[in-house]
Amino acid sequence: MANLQYREAIRAAMVEEMDRDDRIFLIGEEVAEYNGAYKVSEGMLDRFGAKRVIDTPISENGFSGLGIGAALNGLRPIVEFMTFNFSFVAIDQLINNAAKIRYMSGGQFGVPIVFRGPNGAAGQLAATHNTSTESIYATIPGLKVLSPSNPDDAKGLLKSAIRDDDPIVFLESEVMYGMKGEVSDAEEYLIPIGKARVAREGSDVTIVAHGKSYWLALKTAEMLEKDGFEAEVIDPRTIRPFDIDTVVQSISKTNRCVIIDESNPFASISSEVAYQIQERAFDSLDAPVLRITAKDVPAPYAKNLMDFYMPQVKDAYDACRKVMYVD
């Protein structure tokens, strides 16, 4: 095991895979000379050279399309967005080209590409730099969406993503890049796409939380433990395909579920998961599924408003007590 930052774990995954397969290259803004806007790709230009670590102009639509074209022609690109907020100017490439070419070509062409970068809120970045994009991409058939919550999952899932023969949206987080954790240094450390992780076992309430909401879930569980309740925390890790089986199994034990999702609430991942739970676990539910999300407004700039906008531990704690009928 190695103690790595989240950014280092991602770098380790890319480096290991690029060492193994020279069809893989990294392309994006500031990935090469500047060593990455968030230093994820630090040292990679020196290691792999300018042919495989490529700086681009501010032109997401262009370099996303370039990546897709390269993938169609046999390469395996990793496209970095400085933030997924900028993927919106390239969204036609992701949704209409990357996601649909396999289907539209009758399976003749695949697009083995990873779009990766930070997603969601990252503090006082205001309305246009704080969007959670997971439900936007997860709704599109043909895209797989991954959202690791910790360095170890980041490495294992990114390696699997790079080896996958279909387009992957790989969601990271600015505020997690510095987070340290034990990371497997096994040579073939691959975490299967579509498998959730039961991060904490409990019998009283199930909390489902992905990405950095996962850490909120752990804190909530600690608070509940002080009250004598054991929360089971599930980190889906993969948003699509979603591992509903693990969630249903947990709810069949706890009979209650709270979802923490820092997206805006309408048609979000939490909406989808709550739907699937009622479909699959209806007879196991003793209370409505509750969710904690960001407020249904664009992200504000002011610190006090931003704190109010984001899901808070107290909200999740209250929701858990509510579904357990303890208040």
């Binding site: 009979n255 007879d283 539910l285 003793d286 209370a287 409505p288 249904d296 909200d315």
Partner: protein, 445 residues
């Protein structure tokens, strides 16, 4: 404009009411004075009258739901009128208003529908609310959801309710008779039979009979038991009670009653009971002992003295008791006291008493003589200062003029609120009552 119909305050002590049954359907045209529904208060089941006219647009509260005073229970208006304004006004403002306060509640924000459901009760009359798991568990155990009381929001039946019902062996829909703590006046032989008889004997599983943890039977606390609990706890815990006991020789009273009833029978009057004699004796005595006929009001910081003697008589009714009032009992003849008491007791058992018939007493008596109880202590009925507990009349050896004789002894115990009645005050009152009963003619003075 849509007109909200609220749960009215139907008695002084009422805090919430149970909507027992709707008597009109949605869409019906209502005129002022029409009876919309029956409401169970802590004291009685009463008619809910409409003060307005219009079409009944919506029944907001389902049958069997308990709602606090002032809650929205129905909406009147013109046919087809929009009632969302009224509904949202009573649901506590718009849900999901993120700017309404400094304390964030994102859980509510993100689930406005759920929030609204919780505030506005379901309109589906008679619908049983239960969690999916509770339904499945009930089915697995062969339990009827209708027989299980829900402890979740709005009476939702949840897992723990079904588990409790399953553990008890059988869910008990019918309220069972409480071990009668209640008292009844000896107005007639009919009163001597406890009012409540069990409709059915709960079936108990052998396993449950040995399990100390699982109740054999779970019954929701009725409005009446809640009121009894609240008022008597308040009385016993706030007024310092002390007790004075005296033996009364009822020989003369028995002779007088025999004479009165013989006369009354010819005139077609109601038979006078010993309890009626005590009511009269107390009422007359109250006039010369104002402290006993008073109320200690801590909130107002005053002691209220009452000129009139309104004597309440505790009546045992199904699942509780109620204290109808004989107003100005000192000024009423015994046959009238007898007739009023009997009438009030009968209507009390039928739960037909109106608030003005059981409110406003200044003194209360409680009689367990018909059960052979020699003596007991009673809890003061607020805001009274005292309550008199009446025992049975026993034939006992007594010493009369230094000779042993057979006496007819009735033991009276006066519970006094020491905040307003001191020992000597209570004792003097009790002595007056005793002399009225031992020399009944003094009551006529």
């Amino acid at each position: 404009m849509a007109i909200p119909v609220e749960m009215p305050k139907m008695s002084d002590t009422m805090e919430e009411g149970v909507l027992v049954s709707w008597l009109v359907e949605e869409g019906a045209t209502i005129a002022p004075g029409d009876i919309l529904a029956q409401v169970e208060t802590d004291k009685a089941t009463m008619d809910l009258e409409s003060y307005d006219d219009g079409v009944l647009l919506k029944k907001v509260v389902g049958e069997g739901d308990a709602v606090p005073i002032g809650s929205l229970i129905a909406i009147l208006g013109k046919a087809g009128e929009d009632i969302s304004d009224v509904l949202s006004r009573y649901s506590g403002g718009a849900a999901g208003d993120g700017q309404s306060g400094p304390t964030p509640k994102p859980a509510e924000q993100s689930t406005p529908q759920a929030e609204e459901l919780r505030v506005v009760p379901s309109t589906d009359d008679g619908r049983i609310k239960s969690s999916p798991l509770a339904r499945k568990l009930a089915k697995d155990h062969g339990l009827d959801l209708a027989s299980i009381r829900g402890s979740g929001p709005e009476g939702r039946i949840i897992k723990r309710d079904v588990v409790a019902a399953a553990g008890s062996g059988a869910a008990m829909p019918a309220p069972a008779p409480a071990a009668a703590p209640a008292t009844a006046p000896a107005t007639s032989p009919a009163v001597q039979t406890p009012a409540a008889a069990p409709a059915s004997v709960p079936q108990r599983l052998p396993a449950a009979a040995f399990g100390a943890d699982q109740p054999d039977e779970v019954v929701r606390i009725s409005q009446m038991r809640k009121a009894i609990s609240r008022r008597l706890s308040e009385s016993k815990f706030t007024s310092p009670h002390f007790y004075l006991t005296v033996d009364v020789d009822m020989t003369a009273a028995m002779a007088a009653r025999g004479e009165i009833n013989a006369l009354g029978e010819k005139l077609g009057r109601t038979k006078v009971s010993y309890n009626d004699l005590v009511t009269k004796a107390c009422a007359v005595a109250l006039q010369s002992h104002p402290a006993v006929n008073s109320s200690y009001d801590e909130n107002k910081g005053v002691i209220e003295y009452h000129r009139q003697a309104h004597v309440a008589v505790a009546v045992a009714i199904e699942d509780g008791l109620i204290t109808p009032v004989i107003r100005n009992a000192d000024a009423k003849g015994l046959d009238r006291i007898a007739a009023e008491t009997r009438n009030l007791a009968e209507r009390a058992r039928a739960k037909q008493l109106q608030p003005d018939e059981y409110e406003g007493s200044t003194f209360t008596t409680s009689n367990l003589g018909m059960f052979g109880i020699a003596e007991f202590t009673a809890i003061i009925n607020p805001p009274n200062a005292c309550i008199l507990a009446i025992g049975t009349i026993r034939k006992m050896p007594i010493v009369k003029n230094d000779k042993l004789a057979i006496g007819n002894v009735m033991t009276l115990t006066l519970s006094c609120d020491h905040r307003v009645v001191d020992g000597a005050t209570g004792a003097r009152f009790l002595d007056t009552v005793k002399s009225h009963l031992e020399q009944p003619a003094t009551m006529l003075l």
